[in-house]
Symmetry: C2
Subunit: 456 residues, 2 copies
């Protein structure tokens, strides 16, 4: 095992932490507490400042077979960042520089420890935008990339993978390599960069990323559409898209979740009526364009029996609505679990109805919130379900419905350490073997984030 | 070596071809003839109809260590499909069924041998669209996916990778596996599907794909903007994007290439004036939206000294312009080589100027056409350059400029068999080793498309 002294030789005395009270925050992330894997006892936190230092740390860890856990913003919900074996937590907090906002190539080059919030701000200062919004703005870019984060605002331009154009990575064997660049097209041999995206930190330490930016769309608007009947809300979703409007986001919220979260934040949910809501975020090259899109959306919603339509145009109003939507997971905490399934977007109505039947069968309620335009729903399993000892049963019933609909167990949160058993259950043997072999190609001694994302 | 008889046992007598005159068309693709690798002599062409048949063929080939080359539309330009060792060509021509155009989930499910042309037509019939247009409409979906094709119309929503949501693959060891689905978000362990995208047919045989569709945008327009000075055209590109308009495509053409291609097709290039052209394809949720975008674009172009702006709105006019742009490679054939580099989009002006200097130094002309919005240019090296024996010199000088600008050797055509030496020259040893190990994880006996995309 690598010692604190050896690490101090690399990064200096000030950047190695061993005291229990100081390592404690590095032993948890944003996974629901009841689902969080238990951290190991003997953890050394190291805070390197350069890729060269990370290279030295990994070489040493690789020689001494010491597990290394990369730590970003700690906003992951699948326990991937939690150090489950005695070893090193490699915190990226000092990799916090945005190196460039390139307004000619519409690209950002930033160190991996930069937060989403800082990137959004820097882009805005340069009259650019970074469309996706995967929830917590404290998330770090490296984590967003290796988790292929999604969130709201993925309907139009997609998830993180679509934005990642280049990266610098320190491999578990210590080499510092670069992949891609400020390039919108790059087909040069097997796409290792796209393996790192969504690798959940098990293939390499991402130290720098190049992300595609978009212009700051001069026109934006956020609509909140109210329905008495959830099915009407759900059926509106494909109809909006079919009408030729591609919003940045089409989100769904139950009334109780919307109000609960607004209360939690000390805010007011703007819609007065209805039991089910769609939030539609529009963007365009000017205000007229957004108005005409909003009119089209309003027409479609009316056909599907919407009872009210609010449109927020001022930036603060819009960001208040997005904030309420983004903070749902915190507001319902501590819950027993938040699911992260996706089904074909056209089938979310069927899926919701099936989950309601399951809830009824077990005499409980399973509120739901989610990215309706993406088919990605978060069913929230409240604490009473765990207390009654029926959590696993209910989850498996829901997952079976998901698989029958051709869906996925985890749409955007990833497997982490939380869902290895599910991955095992629903993946064929050959693919599991290939995943293990790919891991070995990058990390022959399995030092980087063991127990994560791979069926052993 | 697997025999024709053994293959006939699997697919029936009618679907195995061995006569030289009948196998000849399977020994070439669309690579410039002077760059095309030489095919092996003894080739058996097999035309399976089901994934199960492919599984049996691969199991047999894997036992007998017989090379297998998957054949799509033969539109590749890097020689990937050419059988360079005695073995089997596995033609996908019977996998020609579109299984579903799902208008609720906005997805197409189609067999891998369906052509781009057929998909575009089917989408259109359902009032949907498939935005990208990687050139030749005879390309098959499987090929488009494993080559991560780009082409025009990738500026707004990206290259093929962004559209690929699910696939069925027969692995070289014979297992039939599925990845993804009609899912806009899917993070479940290492993203093997995104390794298959851009694997150039060396990791598995894609038999079925699920592709994201978009609505048929009610408004579309194609603008041709004329300039006297190429630099003005190039400088317009980032300015259009910064103005908040994201066209489907921003293409660049020299006058001589535009006229040459129009003549070759027996058509007329619509612009009368200027020496350099931008083609801008716009889409929107209605005609007003497209008009207002077009006005913005025209304003920007005027600021950058455009001398004329044409706008085509009728579908035929628009598709004529796109056709001239798409057929450039055929029109200039047989040329010595067509390069496929990309640089950061903001730097294409610098790049073009550097290539002009190289051309001047060698006392030749190097015309250029390309996807200006993507930074992806095709410099066309005419036959005289090869005749004078200076082809390799010129190419290496151009590649060195590309690398200095942080660009890539091949943006969309791929490595294939044509560019292995370049991949070798510009890739670090550790990444080359990982690529070999990944190949081995999928294909332990190296039967699938050997000599392609991997540095041995």
């Amino acid at each position: 095992m690598v010692t604190a002294d050896a690490l101090k030789q690399i990064v200096g005395d000030d950047w190695v932490v061993t005291a229990d009270d100081q390592t404690a925050p590095y032993k948890i992330d944003s996974t629901p507490p009841s689902m969080m894997p238990k951290a190991a006892e003997h953890i050394i936190v190291v805070k390197p400042a350069t890729s060269e230092e990370i290279s030295q740390i990994l070489k040493l860890a690789n020689e001494e077979l010491t597990p290394v856990y990369v730590r970003g913003g700690g906003t992951g919900m699948a326990g991937a960042a939690i150090p489950t074996r005695d070893g090193i937590v490699l915190s990226m907090e000092r990799f916090d520089k945005i190196e460039e906002i390139d307004t000619r190539s519409l690209m950002a080059v930033a160190q991996a420890g930069v937060t989403l919030g800082d990137l959004l701000e820097a882009a805005d200062e340069h009259n650019m935008s970074f469309p996706p919004h995967p929830g917590d703005e404290g998330a770090q870019l490296g984590g967003l990339v290796v988790c292929n984060a999604g969130g709201a605002r993925a309907v139009k331009f997609g998830v993180m993978r679509n934005y990642v154009k280049g990266m610098e990575v320190v491999l578990p064997t210590g080499e510092i390599v670069t992949m891609g660049g400020k390039l919108l097209k790059c087909n040069t041999g097997l796409p290792l960069m796209h393996l790192i995206v969504d690798s959940e930190g098990i293939l390499g330490v991402v130290t720098k990323v190049t992300l595609r930016l978009y212009p700051r769309f001069p026109g934006t608007a956020t609509m909140v559409i109210s329905y008495d009947d959830r099915n009407d809300a759900i059926n509106t979703v494909p109809a909006i898209l079919q009408a030729g409007v591609i919003p940045l986001a089409i989100e769904y919220m139950d009334r109780e979740i919307a109000e609960l979260t607004a209360n939690y934040l000390g805010m007011t949910w703007p819609a007065q009526q209805g039991k089910a809501y769609l939030i539609v975020i529009l963007s365009g090259s000017n205000e007229d364009e957004v108005y005409s899109q909003a009119e089209l959306v309003a027409d479609v919603c009316q056909k599907y029996n919407a009872i009210d339509t609010l449109m927020a145009e001022r930036r603060e109003e819009q960001s208040d609505i997005l904030k309420i939507r983004s903070e749902v997971q915190s507001a319902v905490s501590p819950n027993a679990d938040s699911l992260d399934t996706a089904v074909p977007p056209g089938d979310i109505g069927i899926f919701m109805a099936e989950v309601d039947k399951i809830a009824e069968k077990y005499n409980t309620k399973i509120p739901v919130v989610g990215h309706a335009g993406d088919g990605n729903l978060h069913h929230i399993l409240m604490k009473d379900i765990a207390d009654r000892g029926i959590l696993d049963e209910i989850k498996l019933e829901i997952y079976d419905v998901v698989m029958k609909l051709g869906g996925t167990l985890t749409a955007e949160h990833g497997i982490g350490k939380k869902s290895i058993k599910l991955l095992d259950r629903y993946t064929d043997e050959r693919q599991k073997q290939i995943m293990r072999d790919v891991k070995k190609a990058f990390d022959p001694n399995n030092i980087l984030n063991p127990d994560t994302a791979i069926v052993p």
